[in-house]
């Protein structure tokens, strides 16, 4: 456990040294601030536009950070040969993977916290005060974090089997497919073909359901999702996270690192 924590902390420190991270966070905060302009040029949606744009910026820039830092985590260690140093110590490959995963998730939590602080600062500027109803975006941000954790898991999985370019391509592709799972299932059901229906069902239960975690619109209207939904999505994300990490560990254990 201590070894996983040590690798996680090291990964976090290494990630926060990436300049691209700060650029993305600054861009995100600028985007959040742009919500003020969007609300200004429209009619009656100042706060809705601010929440929608703010949460979308947190989500999009979080995804970029998750993909572009996630894909290079293992690959960079192999390129620099630092992986061999780590593994020559009494550190299991599984511990290395888990440490990398938690380190990057920690990075994303910290980044998201910074972007969230920026978001609430802009919201406070727009409204003049914050009320209890303003807690709704926090629920959406929690869902965004679950989504980002899964994206990190996917990126980590692909980074153990291919280089950064292909890993990015695979991760983004899986994110797109995972965002459309509901539609995939609906198309299968409407197709009239039993084989297609079966295939779409199998895919929809095997792939990560990113679409279910993308629920920003209710937060913009100050609506809280039911606790049962939050619990179910949290459980689903945790279980799928375990699936991704176990698969990554299985592949990495078998990988010839000589």
């Amino acid at each position: 456990m201590n070894r996983i924590a040590a690798i996680a902390v090291h990964t976090f420190k290494e990630s926060v040294r990436e300049r691209v991270l700060y650029t993305l966070v600054v861009f995100a905060i600028v985007m959040i601030g742009a919500g003020l302009i969007l609300g200004g040029v429209s009619v009656g949606i100042n706060q809705i536009a601010l929440v929608n744009l703010g949460l979308s910026a947190i989500s999009v820039f979080g995804l970029l950070i998750a993909v572009f830092i996630g894909i290079s985590l293992v690959w960079k260690e192999m390129e620099r040969r630092t992986l061999y140093n780590v593994l020559s110590k009494p550190v299991a490959r599984a511990e290395f993977i888990l440490g990398k995963f938690f380190g990057l998730v920690l990075t994303l939590v910290v980044n998201t916290a910074v972007m969230t602080a920026g978001f609430y600062l802009v919201l406070w500027y727009e409204k003049g005060r914050l009320t209890a109803a303003d807690v709704a975006p926090l629920q959406a941000i929690y869902f965004i974090l679950l989504q980002l954790a899964l994206v990190v898991g996917v990126a980590l999985l692909f980074s153990t089997i291919s280089g950064p370019a292909l890993s990015a391509l695979f991760t983004i592709s899986l994110y797109v497919i995972g965002s459309l799972l509901g539609d995939l299932r609906a198309f299968g059901e409407q197709s009239g073909s039993a084989a297609l229906r079966g295939a779409s069902y199998v895919l929809s239960v095997l792939l990560p359901d990113f679409g279910a975690l993308a629920d920003i619109a209710p937060a913009a209207h100050g609506e809280l999702l039911p606790a049962s939904r939050v619990l179910a999505q949290s459980l689903d994300a945790m279980l799928y996270g375990i699936v991704l990490l176990s698969a990554t560990v299985l592949i990495f254990e078998r990988r010839d690192l000589r």
Binding site: L38, V43, F210, G211, E223
Partner: protein, 296 residues
């Protein structure tokens, strides 16, 4: 030539190239922009006509897309209104896409319906499309009583269907949190549809809730017209009274003042004196900014 000079040369060339290319680029873009304004306006709903499709392709950012589409609808409405052509073809589709992307964006139903229902050139003159929009809003937000108010308003004002207006106000009054005046309004519309007092009540509500300058101004113009129509009705009564008293028709509104029937020369909401029109009836004075058609 010193080493420093050799190094400085490419930097100077790069600086000159930067300034020259930037200037040329700005000139080219300005010229292109100027040409672009002469071309037909880009249709905002030309490529994607279904909000449902956009929703599927939005990857969870449909709320943000809905905000963009609502903003486009507002800007489109404003632009077309300014042109005065009365062409609002894209307004309905833009509002449909907006509300399909975010069925809980209440403002798009409420103001969108007003934009659609208003007579040209102030609006699109499509009350049926406005009704359809509001009905979709009610289906998606069944307990939001203000949409019933808007439904009743369109029936009352744009379609002059007082029975349906009354039943819409009545249905709205049964929704949770509905203001008590909805019940009163339902009753007064049922009893005296088309009365100026009922119209004033409706437009006052629109005015008090409008967060958009264009709608607020429109409500103000309607309220001014209603006030002028009431004033003219009152003046006509006084003119009849004058005939009874004096045995001759008044030669001007001033006669009523001189006879002490009015404390002073009455002015309409734009500050212009009422005058006598054809047939000896009271009318708006020359230069009045009030549009009496808006009172009916």
């Amino acid at each position: 030539m010193s080493a420093e000079m050799i190094q400085a040369k490419p930097r100077r060339i790069a600086a000159v190239a930067f300034v020259a290319a930037l200037a040329a680029s700005i000139a080219l873009r300005t010229s292109l922009d100027r040409k672009a304004t002469k071309q037909p306006a880009f249709s905002p709903v030309e490529y994607v006509t279904s909000g449902k499709t956009l929703r599927q392709l939005s990857f969870g950012y449909q709320g943000l897309l809905a905000d963009f589409y609502w903003t486009r609808a507002v800007q489109y409405f404003g632009r077309q209104k300014l042109t005065g052509t009365g062409d609002f073809q894209e307004l309905g589709p833009l509002l449909r896409i907006t509300t399909e992307l975010d069925p809980h964006l209440l403002i798009a139903y409420r103001f969108g319906a007003i934009f659609l229902a208003e007579e040209p050139p102030s609006g699109a003159g499509q009350p049926d499309a406005a009704l359809a929009l509001i009905r979709r809003g009610i289906a998606a937000n069944p307990s939001y009583w203000r949409l019933w108010q808007d439904l009743g308003f369109i029936y009352y004002w744009n379609l002059k269907d007082y029975a349906r207006a009354a039943s819409a106000f009545e249905a709205g009054s049964r929704q949770p949190g509905a203001d008590v005046w909805m019940k009163t309004l339902a009753a007064s519309v049922a009893a005296q549809g088309g009365e100026l007092e009922t119209s004033r009540q409706l437009w006052s509500e629109v005015f008090s809730q409008a967060s958009n300058e264009s709608i607020r101004r429109s409500a103000q113009e309607h309220l001014a017209a209603i006030k002028a129509a009431e004033d003219i009705g009152h003046l006509d009564q006084l003119l009849s009274e004058f005939v009874r008293r004096e045995g001759r028709p008044a030669s001007s509104v001033g006669d009523l003042v001189r006879e002490g029937m009015l404390p002073g020369w009455p002015v309409d909401p734009s500050g212009v004196r009422y005058e006598l029109g054809s047939g000896g009836k009271a009318a708006l004075g020359a230069g009045s900014k009030v549009d009496l058609h808006l009172a009916r």
